[in-house]
Subunit: 216 residues, 2 copies
């Protein structure tokens, strides 16, 4: 029972890719049908509408994400560790399901207005609740700063994290785990150079200006 590449699954996969690349509204049912090798009318034997396909794409994605988040939180003991796990998990899920991830972050604000997608909205609210719980517990324990609104920090890391799916293509040079470390390190420790003089790069006589050149 390993493989049943059902037509239904083919449709969902192809539609997800098209939705991610062109946007849901700009993707036509004829394009979806073409990409799986059938005619547009045949789609309606498997789905009752185009929106139903969107529902299935995002529903499956968010269910998987919620499950993975639960596992991630179980691995962490401190808020810092939990945050680290959430970052890595998010990037792993984004790597496994890049199309659904792109749809989720590109069009959630659009789907939010349509009552049809209230299941998606509920799942998205659950995701936010998971993050906010970790962040607020970290503030309460003193691990995280208290002078930054938890909600502000959440939104900053959320947007930076999810939108990385737009530009990050996993490779051996820069694998997902390394990106996760970098994201965690920047958001927790900052981009200011640490006092430890471990940098190897010598810049005593660099050809690079200290300031960017100003143009007229």
């Amino acid at each position: 029972m390993t493989e049943t590449p059902s037509r239904r699954a083919q449709i969902v996969d192809s539609a997800a890719q098209l939705f991610a690349q062109k946007g849901v509204g700009a993707t036509t049912v004829r394009e979806i049908a073409d990409s799986v090798g059938v005619l547009s009318g045949s789609l309606y034997h498997h789905f009752e509408s185009k929106d139903a396909i969107v529902d299935e794409v995002l529903g499956g994605y968010l269910d998987a994400l919620r499950g993975r988040y639960a596992s991630a939180l179980a691995r962490g003991t401190s808020a810092t560790e939990c945050l680290r796990e959430l970052v890595l998990t998010s990037l792993q899920v984004a790597e496994e399901q890049p199309y659904a991830t792109a749809i989720y972050q590109n069009e959630l604000h659009y789907l939010r207005e349509q009552p049809r997608f209230k299941d998606v909205q509920a799942a998205a609210a659950n995701v936010q609740k998971t993050w906010m719980g970790v962040i607020e517990s970290g503030v309460a324990s003193g691990e995280f700063r208290g002078d930054i609104e938890p909600r502000v920090f959440y939104r900053l890391i959320r947007d930076a994290l999810w939108l990385s799916a737009r530009w990050h293509k996993p490779s051996t040079d820069y694998p997902t785990e390394t990106l996760a470390e970098d994201v965690t390190s920047v958001f927790l420790n900052g981009f200011i150079a640490q006092s430890k003089p471990t940098r190897v790069r010598a810049n005593s006589r660099g050809g690079r200006a200290q300031r960017p050149a100003k143009k007229a």
Copy 2:
């Protein structure tokens, strides 16, 4: 020079709002015409196509952004200060032109595929060049970490910064300047609490940005 609120300008403004709220592809020329109080056919006396309106909206926005960035860089002496100025300037521009900002960050990846918008693409590349220049000069001078790819840091702060236009509504409680301070502080200093109340430890890094007391 007092600009007359020409019909052309009305069309651009109304279209920008609609494009931001519903997406470019989902906005119809009839809706644009309705919002300015004319019929759809009349739009074509002012613009040759819907895409031409998009061009004008984003072209004017990116021109303004480029000018403001030049002023921002002139105010900074170090890479850290320049970065701080870029953050504040970006948020100010986002506050002044929220609709164009939303379009810019929501649909740049879509416009990128169409050769029609190559001017917009060039302006966007210029924006990126500005940021990268500041970041790389900071790495070269030792102000910023050398173990994070400048391009990675740029993309993280870029996405977090621009997408704040989706959720940040300037208010007296949380004005744009405070958000700019928070963004800068998180990305430069990190979210980890700087002093640990349970342990006394020599910490030479006392110089992180301090949040001024909130004004009434």
